[in-house]
């Protein structure tokens, strides 16, 4: 008869591995995702391509009536309080606290793997207190992590039932974490966390903020940071919709709005969003096809902005990773979308290449066109998008056949050439031109 070996994980191994690759920022965004998911369920937010066209249902009319998420961060306490509808007791019992059990048929949510909430709280601290109320019921769970982790055989979490919320507007969840992990305290005190976090929230949820909910960070309202896409009458972006194995993919490629005649290179590149949440921003790498299906990203392409929206009622079908900060390169949906992305981007990069020939002295018609680009919201972008980015025809005689060549040369070498040529009064530029022409004539005679 066979005997058995004990291969069960210890809880501390489990917790360590879950939280190891997660940054504190990602953990906090996981908690925001969790609150937004409550809202998606309770308000039946239509997270689909309609979200982009401002026709989404469930949108509260009044700004001051928007559901809120408040995040309080200090080096002794971390707290997220939302008024997003709460977690009902049945879901809490069967799904919310169960590791790796994503709810079946849950809709177009931001939660995917049944892991975000648990992982986030373990990342942040050791004393966890969660309280939630829906209009139907309420509960409270308190977890002392070291104590709970001490017993590998018992995975249960005791909870208390509480009174229901007095109305839908009051329904919500509070997560309070104390006895913060040393790493968390260190990050909170290093002075860079809050500014970065505000930026992350402003970008990641730009489609949700101010329309469906508000987020406050230590009492400060986070303003959405819209995607930098711009438009003018003559330069509407290109747009394309695909259906890849049931995942709806909306692609937009065009030019960013200009500020003081300049583009911000930091914001250029591809933005990838899954169910409305930004997963990758301003990507200029091979991840989004640069250097593989399109030429490598170079600084003259800094006006390019592309957005790939992926929507699915089955969040696991979307190409995001568990941290939601990266893309699953093996995903067939993404592999296919990436080629379409490069394809739709090409006419935009061609425009930018024409706009920046190497000789900047030329009066380039593309620049005048680019100066008219204005920031626009997504619904306007999608209304005006054309299948192919097609800038107005620029007469070709304006195109330059020349390119300016500049380089540093050793003074002594330039002087030696002048002496050899008996042209002591020639400037360095003239020497440069002469030597260039000499090469052309002797090595590449026509």
């Amino acid at each position: 008869m066979l005997e058995t070996l004990d291969a069960r994980p210890t809880k501390s191994f489990f917790i360590q591995n879950l939280t190891r690759d997660l940054s504190l920022e990602d953990a906090i965004l996981d908690l925001v995702d969790n609150s937004i998911d409550s809202l998606i369920r309770v308000r039946e937010l239509d997270v689909s391509p309609r979200l982009l066209r401002a026709e989404a249902t469930g949108a509260p009319r009044q700004r001051d009536g928007l559901p809120s998420i408040s995040i309080h961060v200090s080096d002794s306490k971390f707290e997220v309080i939302d008024r997003c509808g709460g977690i009902d007791l049945e879901r809490a019992k069967h799904f919310v606290f169960r590791f790796g059990r994503a709810e079946p048929g849950t809709g177009s949510t931001l939660g995917v793997y049944g892991i975000g909430l648990k992982r986030a709280i373990f990342k942040i601290g050791r004393q966890i207190d969660i309280e939630s109320h829906t209009p139907a019921d309420g509960f409270r769970v308190e977890i002392n992590v070291p104590q709970w982790a001490g017993d590998d055989n018992n995975w249960d979490l005791p909870f208390k039932t509480l009174a229901a919320a007095s109305g839908p507007a009051e329904a919500g969840t509070r997560i309070t974490i104390t006895d913060l992990n040393p790493e968390t305290i260190f990050r909170i005190n290093d002075g860079t966390l809050m500014a970065g976090l505000e930026d992350d929230i402003a970008t990641t949820y730009s489609l949700f903020l101010a329309r469906f909910l508000t987020v406050e960070l230590n009492g400060k309202l986070v303003q959405p940071r819209p995607l930098p896409i711009g438009m003018s009458e003559e330069l509407p972006p290109a747009g394309k919709t695909l259906d890849i194995d049931g995942v709806v993919v909306e692609l937009v490629a065009g030019l960013a709005a200009r500020k003081d005649g300049e583009w911000n290179a930091d914001r250029a590149g591809w933005y990838v969003m899954c169910n409305g949440r930004v997963v990758v921003s301003a990507d200029k790498t091979e991840l989004t096809g640069w250097g593989v299906f399109a030429p490598s990203f170079v600084s003259k392409l800094r006006g390019f902005v592309g957005i790939a929206f992926f929507f699915s009622t089955d969040p696991a079908a979307l190409p995001w990773t568990t941290t939601k900060r990266g893309l699953n390169r093996d995903s067939k949906v993404f592999q296919l979308a990436r080629k379409e992305m490069s394809s739709i981007a090409r006419p935009v990069t061609a425009f930018l290449n024409r706009m920046y020939p190497s000789d900047p002295s030329e009066d380039i018609q593309e620049r005048a066109l680019a100066d008219q680009l204005k920031p626009v919201d997504m619904s306007a972008v999608l209304r005006q998008a054309r299948p192919v980015f097609s800038p107005p025809e620029v007469s070709s005689h304006k195109k330059r056949a020349t390119i300016s060549v500049q380089y540093d040369a050793d003074r002594a070498d330039v002087d030696r050439i002048k002496r050899k040529l008996s042209k002591p009064r020639w400037g360095a530029g003239k020497v440069g031109r002469y030597t260039f022409e000499y090469y052309l004539k002797s090595e590449l005679p026509e």
Partner: protein, 315 residues
């Protein structure tokens, strides 16, 4: 990236016998495909016509193609391009071929010839992948590259470094200098291109690159490689199976078989007229009336049907 033009100044495009034989062989295959039901006449031909448009003239005259697009990158010869346009229905675009590929209609079947006259680089591989992805099922894709060792990278080791940089993800693990000797280079570059083609077609519902051509020939002092095939699914594959290629040996349906080498022996006009009377000859045959090696006799047998006649006209 090297300028895609320039060789039009070095080689007289209309006087390149091996290139012309290659074009004629490709057209022969396209004619056989027409007989097997491919509507080649309705295809659009997109190529890099330079100022000679030789391929455009053949495709229009011999295959009846009416949609013809020539792409030229060199803005300095805009007027020459326009001036030399052989037929009214040849359209020209002054831009890079890479910018044109994503705009090729998916409603239309294409013959796209990426007829580069310089050594393989990253930009070509991007064009190749995007063409393999973009072209509609049933389209024909041809890619030609210069096989000469890149300037400054003449040794196999340096040559390997060059292709490792340019080939990126298409450079295979385990390759050594042996793959980059002049004799091994054709198969190695063909592998790099096939990897790029596979990356381009991966994820397409069922379309893949069905190999048809792998030519090696000499253009002036430059050895050249052409790879060609059909973007097709099972339907196109069985349609290709129905094509009669039994009497020609230059078709390469199997992508691992070595390239077909086009060799055009140097012969006088009088010698050619003489040899033609005995064509096709059997292996080992040599003419009685002048010296010609058995190899050259065989080379001539392989190409005589496709070999152009050049003559000086005094007008």
């Amino acid at each position: 990236m090297t300028s895609p033009t320039g060789s039009y100044l070095e080689v007289s495009y209309d006087l390149r016998p091996a290139k012309q034989v290659e074009r004629r062989m490709i057209i022969d295959v396209l004619q056989r495909m027409t007989a097997a039901g491919f509507q080649i006449r309705d295809y659009q031909y997109t190529g890099l016509g330079s100022i000679y448009f030789v391929d455009f003239i053949l495709f229009h005259r011999l295959l009846g193609l009416r949609r013809l697009l020539s792409v030229e990158h060199d803005v300095r010869i805009e007027k020459r391009i326009e001036f030399n346009r052989p037929f009214g229905l040849v359209e020209t675009q002054l831009t890079s071929i890479g910018d044109v590929i994503p705009t090729l209609s998916t409603e239309q079947k294409h013959i796209l010839w990426l007829d580069y006259d310089y050594v393989l680089d990253q930009g070509m591989l991007i064009d190749t992948t995007s063409a393999a992805y973009q072209l509609s099922v049933g389209s024909v894709l041809l890619i030609t590259v210069d096989l000469k060792q890149p300037a400054g990278h003449e040794s196999p080791a340096a040559c390997m470094e060059y292709y490792k940089d340019e080939g990126g993800g298409y450079f295979e693990a385990g390759w050594s200098e042996e793959e980059f000797t002049p004799s091994a280079l054709p198969m190695t570059l063909s592998r790099i291109l096939m990897n790029a083609l596979r990356n381009g077609t991966s994820g397409r519902s069922s379309a893949r690159f069905l190999s048809l051509f792998r030519f090696l020939y000499q253009d002036g002092t430059h050895p050249m490689l052409t790879i060609g095939g059909l973007i097709g699914a099972d339907g196109e594959k069985s349609q290709l199976d129905r094509c009669d290629f039994s009497d020609i040996d230059f078709v390469r349906r199997d992508e691992t078989s070595p390239p077909y080498r086009i060799v055009v022996p140097r012969l006088t006009r009088k010698e050619r007229i003489y040899l033609d009377q005995f064509m096709p000859c059997s292996a080992g045959w040599v003419p009685d009336d002048f010296e010609l090696s058995t190899e050259d006799a065989l080379h001539y047998r392989n190409i005589y049907r496709y070999n152009p006649w050049y003559a000086e006209l005094l007008l």
